[in-house]
Symmetry: C2
Subunit: 432 residues, 2 copies
């Protein structure tokens, strides 16, 4: 049975997929015991060596990537997809830089917190531990192979990576660099395994092996994630929509409001933390909407609004019920004028995807209420929703953004790839 | 559609179950927004009023319970089941005391931690928030109704409780007390809903409504939990086996070893944190086994052992492969002599259910290795496995013990019924 160890691309028959994935799973489970006890020095040495090997092998990586690009063009992939697939020198620089940054992050594994004596005489605390085996399923961008491997390794997990079929050669070339780094640090090469088949059955098997895989992180479009969540027999850290809201309160500083609401929409359109719906308190709508509308139009943003918005601003398309629930990921914005904070909270509770919402206000009590009552993974005051990001939050890197409520919410970094077990220290203590 | 509000026991036709459960779900989802923002004072007032009402209604509770007991006897329930079902005056005292204790616990909701300035100028931190709607599925013990409701309420969650059909009248009587307490504190009565039908289809629906239910906590036997996990479309906080180990190292203090190993097995037999398998380092086996065997026999514990154990002690039954993986929940113990810590760790990695394991040693390095390398929800040094318990750990109470790796491991108290969202405080900050 071929594994990724030598970067071989196995030509597997469909009826082999089951046993191939089982082999990867068993190897990952065994590797996880090793990675869990790997020292910080070992893990960092592996990361830095991988960075060096990637630096030395730039030509090989580009050659492998050219194969994928050529095949992609032949298959008729669109230009956005080909762009994501491409490994440019700058992107290789970013991969190297990312590995070095992860090496510098504090090791989360083994951290002991809350260790306290109990009346019985025992000490009880919590110790941070890896989750075990992580399965990552992603689409075209080959740099994810490197990012995901580095975060899983640093957090003491074994990982099985299943990239997009269009990036197979690039991913295998990156996998070879990873294997060299692992070996140099004395860590089993099964700590990071890249699935060496493009057969879709591999994904189906990966997400239904709870005996070998502890958690699945899908990275990709909503339909991929929904499909995986529906079929998985393993917990999934999900990132669905980012239908993010900014609410401009009638006690907002309107200069800040315009600055933030323009940034939240126009700084980038295709990202999950981009504002898709703007709520404005009736009391300040007439004062703030003209400046906002001018800025959005200058940036080429199409505006869709409620009746009250349309009465204040010309050329706004009538928003439908569907608009309030839509993540455009495009230069389109829906605008609704609401009576007050309560109506804004009700709108958000109904339409938000619980990703990121921000209030613009100078009112202390309203800021506190918004922070407390909005049930989203990131809740902000006087700040752009675009800040909802692992790097901006200081996590160093992120494996994804969770819109789930259990385990991890918001950007998931090293800590999200760990959990805490209880530890008890006694001296012959027994229960009475 | 009947709800539990007045404690009515609806006679529902099977084809109504779907819409009945949907109604409960929708009511719970709406209630969760309210409970999330209920003040600490409100929640505590509700808990204390429920305690008082239960105290005043002892006779009514006992009468309802007598109905269940009579029906149970007629159905031929065994005596253990009838015992669990019975509400004695002492058990009612415990329910009242439990409610008052939960009122005294610190409110986890709204706790802000790790709030720090980032280079961009924003402050980023985490705020503890309720999970939303919790579904609890449990068997005969009616006091769980009260315990689970109190923990969910204090942690700001709405809850749907589905108790055993044999306890229906008792649970409805307790539900009436809860509704009175909620009303008195100005909290919606839909915050705690007790399913008023014994139809099994209600469970099937409850665990497949992700739009209304955020997490399921099953409390009961392994087969119940496995069935629910297999069918659920909602995350499940699982508690499967407790196949717990004690390892007596050859650097153990043998007096402590005997004390702990006897307590871990004999203090109670039917609990999940009871030791089921004892591992002994070869170097001290001859020195410690006779005293241990004598103590176990005095307590009436049947011993099953490996060949080496049987060579040292008479009358030990030969342990089979199956024994190593078995949670006896009975006065039976499997014993294995291992070469050293490494062999003990390998045995535990293979057979343990990842619940609770303890090492007995005076060696610092080995204690550290055991703590780090054993991947169980509780890992102990020189302490009885029987300490793995929410009260002993200072959680105040527990909704269950998780053997999962994601979200919560070990005893799950108020904190396990919450998660953390990110909060961002700015002053007009935008992303560059």
């Amino acid at each position: 049975m071929a594994t990724n160890a030598a970067g071989r691309i196995a030509t597997l028959q469909t009826n082999d997929i089951d046993s191939y994935m089982t082999t990867l799973g068993r190897q990952a489970r065994a590797a996880a015991r090793e990675t869990a006890r790997a020292t910080t020095a070992q893990k960092n040495a592996a990361l830095l060596t991988i960075a060096d090997v990637i630096d030395q092998r730039r030509d090989q990586l580009m050659t492998a990537n050219q194969k994928d690009l050529a095949a992609g063009r032949q298959k008729g992939l669109d230009s956005a997809m080909l762009d994501r697939l491409e490994l440019t020198p700058a992107r290789i620089d970013n991969m190297i830089e990312g590995l070095r940054q992860v090496a510098e992050l504090p090791d989360p594994v083994g951290e002991v917190t809350d260790l306290r004596y109990r009346p019985s005489g025992i000490q009880v605390g919590k110790m941070r531990v890896p989750l075990g085996v992580v399965g990552i399923i992603y689409e075209s961008r080959p740099n994810v192979t490197c990012e995901a491997a580095s975060l899983c390794l640093k957090s003491g997990n074994a990982v099985i990576l299943r990239g997009g079929s269009e990036a197979l050669h690039s991913n295998q070339a990156i996998a070879e660099c990873i294997v060299i780094g692992l070996r140099a640090a004395g860590i089993t090469e099964h700590a990071v395994q890249v699935v060496a088949t493009t057969d879709r059955a591999a994904v189906g098997k990966l997400i239904t092996m709870p005996e070998f895989v502890d958690v699945i992180v899908p990275r990709g479009g909503k339909s991929l994630i929904e499909r995986i969540s529906a079929d998985a027999r393993v917990p999934v850290i999900k990132h669905l929509d980012g239908n993010c809201h900014v609410y401009i309160d009638d006690r907002a500083d309107l200069d800040k409001a315009v600055k933030v609401a323009v940034n939240a929409k126009t700084q980038r359109y295709g990202t999950c933390n981009t504002m898709e719906s703007l709520l404005i308190a009736e009391g300040v709508a007439a004062a703030v909407l003209p400046a906002l509308a001018a800025a959005y139009r200058a940036a080429g943003v199409e505006l869709r609004g409620c009746e009250k918005t349309r009465a204040l601003i010309d050329g706004v398309i009538a928003a439908t019920e569907e608009d309030w629930g839509t993540e455009y990921l495009a230069p389109v914005l829906s605008i609704r004028i609401v009576a007050d904070l309560d109506e804004a909270l009700t709108h958000i509770a109904r339409y938000s995807s619980a990703h990121t919402e921000s209030i613009i206000t100078e009112d202390y009590g309203r800021a506190q209420r918004f922070l407390r009552e909005v049930d989203s993974s990131s809740v902000m005051v006087n700040a752009s929703t675009r800040f909802a990001d692992g790097f901006e939050y200081g996590l160093g890197a992120e494996i994804g953004i969770s819109t789930d409520k259990l385990h991890a919410r918001g950007p998931v970094g090293l800590e999200g790839l760990t959990s805490q077990k209880y530890i008890v220290l006694g001296d012959g203590h027994i229960r009475q």
